[in-house]
């Protein structure tokens, strides 16, 4: 090897090395998104969890688990404004089967919480289950948390979410007037207290701030039926499309990115996804995500 070749080789190694190493590392932890399809919603939910290694991978015996569906609106389940009750129940059952000591299901609702809990069908679906709590939010339980984010320096988060061992994010996939879509990243708003409307001023960055601080261990997106317009609460059955799909991933950004395609959009179209990706919260490039159809 002459000097010239040596310099060329070292030069390119120095320049390309970090990129290659990063690629190799990324490949090792390539984000896995599981997609299941079928009309038996509990079955496809279980199938998706199993394809990720089963609930025991996330929930250890004696754990306190929070399952956070979207049940923010006083709408019945077919209108796709809230997570489907059967999906929520299946996730809760899997947690219990994995040995969870207690599973807590709640949401900081937009409409009257009593009506949301009833009309979403979720309270009813969980009724009578042992070791499962479906309580309404108690405002005194919000704790001010230092985020030191780019937009939110601190915010009130719900103590039951903060103190849980495992947090499972179970959003429904739907349209949203401001953020275009609301998926896993935005469903985190359900553990936020205070005047949540404030974050609309800079919602992409604000959601990245919260999600950077508070991680969802598992994201299961309910796309059994999706709301394609007039979100996030809809109300018109004509805006609902039945897809019979569940998307699950430990990478919340990857789950959101894949779910975006169900609406005929690209992940890059959704500023919330982009902001989270830039923050390093997950992978949004579909060609770098391993999609498994189980």
């Amino acid at each position: 090897m002459d000097r010239r070749t040596f310099i060329k080789a070292t030069g390119s190694a120095v320049l390309l090395g970090p990129v290659l190493v990063k690629d190799v590392l990324a490949a090792r932890e390539q984000s896995l998104v599981v997609v299941t399809e079928g009309t038996d919603y509990p079955a496809i939910t279980r199938k998706a969890i199993n394809a990720l290694g089963g609930m025991t991978k996330f929930v250890k015996s004696g754990d306190i688990v929070v399952v956070k569906p979207n049940m923010g609106w006083d709408r019945s389940s077919e209108l796709a404004a809230n997570t489907h009750p059967l999906v929520v129940r299946a996730v809760v059952e899997e947690c219990l089967a994995a040995g969870a000591k207690k599973v807590k299901v709640f949401d900081n609702t937009c409409n009257d919480s009593r009506r949301c809990y009833v009309n979403s069908g979720i309270e009813g679906a969980l009724k009578g289950m042992k070791c499962v709590e479906c309580k309404q939010i108690e405002t005194e339980r919000f704790k001010k948390v230092t985020l030191n984010g780019q937009f939110l320096k601190e915010w009130e988060l719900y103590d039951e979410a903060l103190s849980a061992n495992v947090y499972i994010n179970v959003p429904v996939a739907k349209h949203h007037g401001l953020s275009k879509l609301t998926l896993g990243l935005k469903n985190i708003m359900g553990i936020m207290g205070g005047s949540r409307g404030y974050i609309h001023r800079n919602i992409d960055v604000a959601l990245a701030d919260i999600n950077a601080h508070f991680k969802s261990h598992l994201t299961i997106i309910d796309a059994t039926r999706i709301l394609t317009a007039h979100g996030p609460q809809g109300g018109n059955i004509a805006d609902v499309r039945v897809l019979n799909k569940i998307i699950a991933s430990t990478d919340i950004v990857a789950a959101d990115a894949y779910a975006t395609t169900l609406f005929g959009m690209k992940p890059a179209d959704i500023p919330v996804t982009v902001a989270a990706y830039k923050r390093g919260l997950g992978e949004m490039n579909l060609d770098k995500i391993k999609v498994v159809k189980a």
């Binding site: 009257d112 009506r115 949203h176 007037g177 609309h200 001023r201 007039h230 809809g234």
Partner: protein, 517 residues
């Protein structure tokens, strides 16, 4: 306390009243099967003032007609056997030492209250609820005592959390049981809380002078029932105090002011019969008509009472336009005049309102509108899928509507205040109002426009706009507007409250500009 049949009956009705009061709340069902409105629907004062004011019949008040007929045959039994306010007075009066009766309340004072109320009704101002004993009791409970109970219980519960944190969860089931079945869901403060409590306490304070002071000297419902009761088929024998005894005067809580029993004040409690040392007293069908007092009060009183009503009703109509522009009535109320004729001001709608959107008007509707319900959106909005206020309204002043109709009823119309609304005033994104608008096609939509920000940089901002034809004025936009204090969008009253047409509000919009992009 002796448990006489009348007393047991009183206590049962008081318990029923309190039970129905607590039940007048959303507890997981869209329909409330039994509410405290039963007490108003069986209230002849509510009936007669409704008939005089609205000049129409409603089957909602049929029980009141039955009650009036029963009173005609039996006498003023309501006051001694049913009235929950009377029962409360009976329960506390033994602990209040008496001075001499107030002379100023004797004579025709009660007619000077009743007659102007009725004649004001005739000229379309239905004020009977202001002095109706059930309404007074209900308002005292709803606006003062119940919130007090709720806040005391909740503050205690929250205090416990701050002391022991999540360990509180161990006793949560017990608290939840109380909260779900007894406590108000939300802590709400009402205007006129003190006035409502003061009227109730004032009535109790009147017991200082004589027993059932309010009932025999002032209560317009009692006066009306007493007037009907004069014709009752029963009489008490003997009709006077016996010369050798006179115990009745001590035993009687109401009617024995003089030597003879005042039939129209007798509440048929039968204390005299039980307490008579000589077993002389009996209540039996009367043989002949021996009404001592004339059928109608004297002419001077009749004319004076009528004139009093007119003098009351007409000057009370002044309203400040500025206040009235924000006077929003509950859903389904299409005409303000019609509403004022029918509303009893009982406070039930305000008690039941799911989001605590309803509050008693203090001055917004003028003197004539005091205690009538109004929506204050910044405090609470009208929940799209809720029909509770119409269900509990005893007179149909707020009509009981099927859900699909109620959704289309117009409370008011929203309007943006561009000096405050963020996308206009500060050139930044927000549209929380659009997100919350419950109309399936969105009465609030937004469009992306290119603006020059306050920092001089050009950017795209979503500006909201209102589709007025499908706005029902529910007020959720104003309620959730993230501005502090004053909202950037507010609901204003409108005269034309024709419901949104059936084919609007749930169709694909012609203008899809604001959707999805």
């Amino acid at each position: 306390m002796k448990f006489t049949p009348a007393r047991i009956c009183q206590l049962l009705f008081l318990a029923l009243f309190l039970l129905l009061f607590v039940q007048t709340e959303y507890r997981g069902q869209d329909e409330i099967s039994a509410a405290v409105n039963s007490f108003f629907r069986a209230n002849p004062l509510v009936l007669i003032s409704y008939l005089l004011a609205a000049k129409t019949w409603t089957w909602l008040l049929f029980p009141a007609l039955l009650m009036a007929v029963a009173t005609l045959f039996l006498g003023r039994f309501f006051c001694g056997w049913i009235c929950p306010l009377g029962t409360i007075l009976d329960l506390v009066t033994t602990r209040i030492s008496k001075s001499a009766p107030l002379r100023s309340l004797k004579g025709n004072a009660k007619y000077w209250l009743l007659l102007p109320l009725l004649s004001a009704s005739l000229v379309n101002l239905n004020l009977s609820g202001l002095l109706d004993p059930i309404a007074i009791l209900l308002r005292g409970l709803t606006f003062f005592l119940y919130p007090l109970l709720g806040i005391a219980a909740r503050e205690g519960w929250v205090g416990l959390y701050h002391m022991i944190g999540e360990q509180r969860d161990t006793i949560a089931p017990a608290y939840n049981l109380v909260r779900d079945n007894l406590l108000p869901f939300r802590d709400t403060m009402y205007p006129l809380a003190f006035l409502s409590a003061a009227i109730l306490l004032g009535i109790i304070a009147l017991e200082r002078y004589e027993t059932r002071n309010w009932c025999r000297n002032l209560c317009p419902l009692g006066t009306l029932l007493g007037w009907l009761g004069r014709f009752s088929l029963f009489e008490r024998l003997p009709g006077k105090l016996c010369s050798d005894c006179g115990q009745c005067r001590e035993l009687c809580p109401t009617g024995f002011d003089q030597d003879a029993l005042f039939k129209e004040e007798c509440t048929l409690c039968m204390e005299c019969q039980r307490g008579c040392p000589h077993d002389r007293i009996s209540f039996r069908p009367r043989k002949k008509q021996n009404v001592t007092a004339p059928f109608l009060p004297e002419r001077r009183l009749l004319l004076g009472g009528f004139a009093g009503g007119l003098l009351l009703a007409i000057p009370a109509r002044f309203r400040s336009p500025a206040k009235e522009s924000r006077l929003l009535r509950p859903p389904g109320v299409q005409s303000e005049n019609d509403f004022l004729k029918k509303c009893v001001r009982c406070g039930e709608c305000m008690k039941v309102c799911l989001k605590n959107a309803l509050y008693p008007a203090t001055y917004q509707a003028g003197v004539e509108g005091i205690f009538t319900p109004q929506v204050i959106p910044r405090l609470g909005y009208c929940e799209y899928n809720c029909t509770l206020c119409g269900q509990v309204c005893p007179t149909g002043a707020i009509p009981a509507l099927p859900l699909e109709s109620k959704k289309r009823e117009v409370i008011g119309k929203a309007a943006f205040d561009k000096n405050h609304c963020l996308p206009f005033a500060r050139k930044i994104d927000c549209i929380v109002c659009e997100e919350h608008c419950p109309i399936p096609d969105k009465a609030i939509r937004s469009r992306s426009v290119s603006v020059v920000g306050l920092d001089g940089v050009s950017r795209m901002v979503k500006e909201p706009y209102l589709v007025e034809e499908i706005c029902n004025g529910c007020g959720i936009c104003e309620n959730v507007c993230p501005l502090e204090t004053k909202a950037g969008i507010e609901v204003f009253a409108v005269k034309n409250r024709t419901p949104i047409p059936r084919n609007r509000g749930n169709q694909e919009p012609q203008n899809s500009e604001g959707n999805g992009q």
